[in-house]
Symmetry: C2
Amino acid sequence: MKNKVITISREFGSGGRTIGKKTAKRLGIACYDSELIQKTAEESGFDAQYIQDAGEYAPSGLFANLSNRAFGPTNEDYLWKIQYQMISRLAEEGPCVIVGRCADYILKGKADCLRAFIHADLAFRAQRIVNVYGEREQSPEQRIKDKDRRRAAYHRFYTDMKWGHAQNYDITLNSGTLGIDHCVDLLVMLYEQGSFAGKDGNA
Amino acid sequence: MKNKVITISREFGSGGRTIGKKTAKRLGIACYDSELIQKTAEESGFDAQYIQDAGEYAPSGLFANLSNRAFGPTNEDYLWKIQYQMISRLAEEGPCVIVGRCADYILKGKADCLRAFIHADLAFRAQRIVNVYGEREQSPEQRIKDKDRRRAAYHRFYTDMKWGHAQNYDITLNSGTLGIDHCVDLLVMLYEQGSFAGKDGNA
């Protein structure tokens, strides 16, 4: 019997992580995000901040990476492998919510996954990241574009899936128009209905 | 006070029209699709079948159309204008569900719209169109690819929006994994919560 897992991909600033945490809390199941990074760090011996950067960003040198690969796996490849194993194991241990980290791809066939993507328009996200993370030297719009581009590149590099295309998910939600709490309501409802039993072979 | 309208774009065979009709029935509001085509036909004097084809398909001669435009608006442009006016008027008359016809684009700023996109994987849709529409000479997979390509081209030509990109919608749903009735549940829930009050300026 495969565990039910909600995977959440999200645009930076869309509140995807908050939605994941609130959904998990309402359902009484675990939520993995920064905790996951920490665990990875413990297993790999890499510094936690380095892992956060490497796991989030396809490095600015994607091409550099490709050439590095001529000499064997890179650090990013090694981290990818550890995260892959960890996410697979967490999904085996029990039902949970996993935010980011290509969990949707990693768990294909291994869990009864509800694959969600959270997005919002730029203005909503810009305002939100200033509220949540505070002002930075770089404008919020630039921070968003930069972070989204890196996430999309990372996803594409390791999974060959197009990040943010409706067809890759069971549900995508605009947190800016629907509101974060309503997004939580919808995910909780779907989870409780048990309506993602892999009818198309996703699980 | 703007009316609440659910607009549904959908991949061919995904059950988007069925979801629209069931949602409207549950909510006790009107649903426009083939009825809309009929009304358009009555107003324009065009043949109903011709309108169905022209409204659904960006004609195989998109380039031909472009050159035709050197001599003024084409029939397709005329139909677009009529549909544009009709959809705007229907949304003014009362809350409703509108399936297809770029209603999401047309009603921007004119109604309190919930913009939904329904999709499913190819195998699910292939089986469904054979069940619903019967066998044809062309394979179901080929019929689907053909129809989707034309819908996407029509949408892009008249709206400059990318069809099927999560960012263009408030919610996208995979009817193949979630099931048609659960998609209806979600849309009904969102409508009743009144949670699409245009927080990002969509309405």
